[in-house]
Amino acid sequence: MNAPSANASNGHSVSASKSDHPEFFQVRVLRQDQPGGDCYWQRYRVRYESDMNVISVLQRIAAQGVTMDGRAVAPVAWDCNCLEEICGACTMVINGRVRQACSALVDRLLADNPQEIELRPMTKFPVVRDLVVDRSRLFRALQRVRAWIDVDGYQDQGAGPRVSREDQEQAYPLSQCMSCGCCLEACPQYTKIEVLQQAGESAAEAQARTEAAYDHGFMGAHAISQAVLFNTHPTGQMAASQRLEQLTAEGGIQVCGNAQNCVAVCPKQIPLTTSIARAGRAVTVWAWKKWFDR
């Protein structure tokens, strides 16, 4: 799971020899019908086509509607939107590694393992159905660290602050985070929180209980990195102490165990560990300052 991303352009041209591909290949999917339900494996046979990715494999499985042994089954549920690895929706565990299904190319996967392709949902988020998981905790963490600029309003007030090229070049990589959740899946400190609606409980009550549970859990590398992004923006840093407060609260930066898996799996190569180190230093300085200012 913590292998470096194969998305880095390493110059290999895997599919150059397409002639030796199989006519069909096997896909094994870990399915689950509903939250809290049992999971089970199902196998499918998919006809090989050139330029396939895991999304098109799932589309073929949905269209054919039968398992390998010819049993008619409901299509596998999965999440996707842009199919260009920029929206973050289609994250899942493919052949044991967390990544986006759209940029997981069948030729490369079969080159690694000609027997089959294995698809599983992410393990750190509650499964909704099959490969669909509930990542609302991830967005909740962005609220926790106040990942926005507190502008006075949307009226015309002229341009924003001037920013040096150097600062822009530091900020831009952090602002490419697409909230996909790979860094959280790979993190040993980020553990699954699943709150199931109880009998007699309303959806709103369950929601409130869920959010409270999320707010005690680890916020994760992505949220720490966003706090750093906004704390280094000329306007954003005016609210820096509020973010630092959150970073030092329960589930904050102190939970990080420095495993460094996050940076290894990030599909956008965001320097997450650098962000964590910067946040750590800022938190230390801020804590001392707070102590002296008492």
Binding site: A62, A74, R129, V132, G153
Partner: protein, 671 residues
């Protein structure tokens, strides 16, 4: 105002801009989206966002010139007051985005850097690397999250809009929607419903659009009485990378850096492309356009690539349309220095290094210029009356449309880097207009409507859902029908259009629509049933597909993205100066006659399960239409004649065919 609510459907740039603007004005907003809003299709925009700026101003640029470029690029089919307003707001919108923390590229002095885009001579385009759309969307997403944390915005993510709730007076009182996970159907009473659901590219099967861009929300409004305008205007980008699941954009800069487009002269030549000798390669753009070569204008490149594959059967692959875009003759260090970014995308998704192997590309459906018909209120100076609740309202009071899913701003063809501006402008404009509406509420409040109105709407939608789940097992597969619909639409209504093919396609689509009524569901469950959600979206593609085909069939001319070779204007042939002059006069007569007949908005109404087409005048009161002569033989003579005619014409009054003028408004209100 506490009881009043507004529903915004769609969380791309337009929907988020509207939601945050309304929230700022103390309005309670329900924001509904098929996906978490941060994953909306706006993230796919790459190039940038246009506005006049201090650097271009010094070189003679102005808001007016941006306005002029936009209407000229759109072949004059857009109502000019909105475009004028958009180009005037554009610099202030970029200022706002800058304040919101967008990581725009910078000059060495720390100002916003700009690049040049198509259809203009000025460097108007602000950009954040090659992910400008993503960066802008995130800035607005962050603001919406801020309002969400204050309880002003309630998000409904993973909800599918099922249709507006319309009372017996024809007024929109809210909408119905279905949760994609629990499958619960609910009605949302609202004093205004704002549709911001983007384009309809999925009607073409595969396109450069995201999977959420089915057009279903617009279609569901269309089928209950909302008008749909200019459906036939669909932008096709010349170079995209065909994938089994999607067509991904390949930037024009690949050709700008020397990329050559070719196909093997022998159809479907199975050899490795690098083993095919030069004289067996057909560099069709270079042969047909010796002057411009591979850098012919976008629409021409698109048409030629399409022709060579579809009509001449010279596609590289037998079972899939594509041509080679070849960079292998260029030094790889040179490529890395200039276009590494786009080459990495190709490498990532194709698994092939385009420095070693020619890329396979094909034009792809990219943007819907047409969309839901919306009104506006023209000001005395030819712009918009800001704050007017008429701006962006559909023909159904209380129902609004903004962003790509409306038909304004881009006319017959959109210029690059203008879509991000139009999305945000329309979102802010509708925000201020709806705020005015809520203060007056001429038709009464949604909260005061009889409960029976909402209960009936709910039971209707529940009934339809259960009917779909419980219908007798048909024999049709919705995924395969979608594939067939995409093939028909791509063949008939993209780059080159002829009436016989359009007629045939209309029949085929009608037949498919009929067959789709017998779709067999492979999942009849009540939990996260993607099968039934997809089938509903598919069923709703047919009305828009028919509107596209019928609009295209009836429009017997060429304008922007709508190209019919049977009605293409011919150039001026050889002859004496007098003869050429006479031909040019006749050409200009035909041009003026063509505009009298076709410079009209196509308006589709859904009647008896078929689109009915009518035409409306376009407000061209500010910049008179003029011929676009790029690449035409004899353009200079026509230009001379046209210039003389324009000089003779009396000055245009500033009052065009606007819906209603009013007193001048103080600016600015929004951004």
């Amino acid at each position: 105002m506490s009881k009043q609510r507004v529903v915004v459907v769609g969380g791309g740039l337009a929907g988020l801009a509207a939601a945050m603007k309304l929230a700022e004005s103390q309005v309670q907003v329900d924001l509904m989206s098929l996906t978490p809003v941060k994953r909306s299709h706006s993230v796919c925009a790459q190039g940038g966002i246009n506005s006049v700026n201090e650097q271009t101003r010094q070189l003679g640029d102005s808001e007016w010139k941006h306005f002029d470029d936009t209407v000229y690029g759109g072949d004059f089919l857009q109502h000019q007051p909105l475009v004028k307003e958009m180009t005037e707001w554009a610099p202030r919108i970029i200022d706002l985005l800058d304040r919101l923390g967008v990581t725009f590229n910078r000059t060495p002095e720390g100002y916003l850097d700009r690049r040049r885009f198509g259809g203009t001579l000025f460097k108007r385009t602000a950009f954040a690397g090659a992910t400008t759309g993503q960066q802008l969307l995130y800035a607005l997403d962050e603001q919406v999250r801020r309002w969400e944390s204050e309880g002003r915005i309630q998000k409904y993510e993973f909800w599918d809009f099922l249709g507006p709730v319309i009372d017996d007076r024809g007024i929109c009182r809210g909408c119905a929607a279905q949760h994609l996970l629990t499958m619960e159907i609910r009605v949302f009473p609202a004093d205004a419903v704002i549709i911001a659901t983007g384009g309809c590219g999925l009607i073409y099967g595969r396109s450069t659009m995201s999977m959420a861009c089915t057009g279903s929300a617009a279609s569901r409004c269309f089928q209950v009485g909302a008008k749909y305008a200019n459906p036939e205007f669909i932008q096709v980008h010349p170079t995209a990378v065909p994938g089994a699941d999607k067509l991904r954009l390949m930037s024009e800069s690949a050709r700008g850096e020397g990329g050559r487009v070719w196909v093997p002269r022998r159809p479907h030549d199975p050899r490795d492309p690098l083993q095919i000798p030069e004289d067996e390669r057909y560099y069709f753009l270079e042969e047909r356009y010796p002057k411009y070569g591979n850098l012919v204008p976008r629409d021409i490149a698109t048409r030629e690539i399409f022709n060579v594959c579809v009509r001449e059967g010279l596609s590289v692959e037998p079972d899939r349309q594509c041509v080679y875009l070849d960079l292998t003759h260029i030094d790889r260090h040179e490529l890395d220095r200039k276009i590494a970014g786009i080459l990495e995308i190709y490498e990532k998704f194709q698994g092939v290094d385009p420095r070693d192997v020619p890329m396979k590309i094909f034009p792809a459906v990219h943007y819907s210029m047409g969309g839901m018909w919306v009104d506006y209120q023209r000001s005395a100076d030819g712009g918009l009356v800001l704050n007017s609740p008429t701006n962006h309202v559909t023909n159904i009071p209380g129902l609004y449309a903004i962003g790509e899913c409306d038909y304004q701003y881009h006319g017959a063809n959109r210029l690059g880097a203008n879509s991000l501006v139009s999305c945000i402008v329309s979102g802010l404009v509708v925000g201020t207009g709806v705020e005015t509406l809520l203060k007056g509420l001429p038709h009464g409040a949604a909260a005061d409507q009889p409960a029976a109105l909402f209960a009936t709407a709910l039971s209707q939608h529940e009934h339809m859902h259960h009917q779909l789940l419980n219908r007798p097992n048909g024999r049709e597969n919705p995924y395969l029908l979608h594939q067939q619909l995409g093939e028909i639409m791509t063949k008939a209504a993209t780059v080159v259009r002829t009436n016989d093919v359009l007629d045939q396609a209309y029949g085929q689509v009608s037949e498919l629509a009929e067959r789709a009524r017998h779709c067999s569901l492979s999942d009849t469950g009540q939990w996260t049933n993607q099968n039934v959600v997809f089938t509903k979206a598919l069923l709703d593609m047919f009305p828009l597909a028919k509107a596209i085909l019928k609009g295209a069939r009836m429009r017997d001319e060429c304008r922007g993205a709508h190209f019919k070779p049977d009605f293409a204007p011919e150039g001026i042939s050889e002859g004496s100066p007098t003869e050429r002059r006479q031909q040019a006069e006749a050409w200009c007569d035909r041009f003026e006659e063509g505009n009298r007949r076709w410079l009209k908005t196509t308006v589709a109404d859904w009647r008896d399960h078929e689109p009915a087409i009518s035409y409306e005048d376009v407000d061209v009161g500010l910049i008179p239409p003029r011929p676009r002569l790029y690449g035409l033989v004899g353009a200079e003579v026509i230009e001379d004649v046209w210039r003389e005619r324009s000089a003779r014409r009396p000055a245009q009054s500033s009052q065009g065919s606007a819906q209603g003028a009013s007193k001048p408004q103080p600016k600015p209100v929004g951004a």
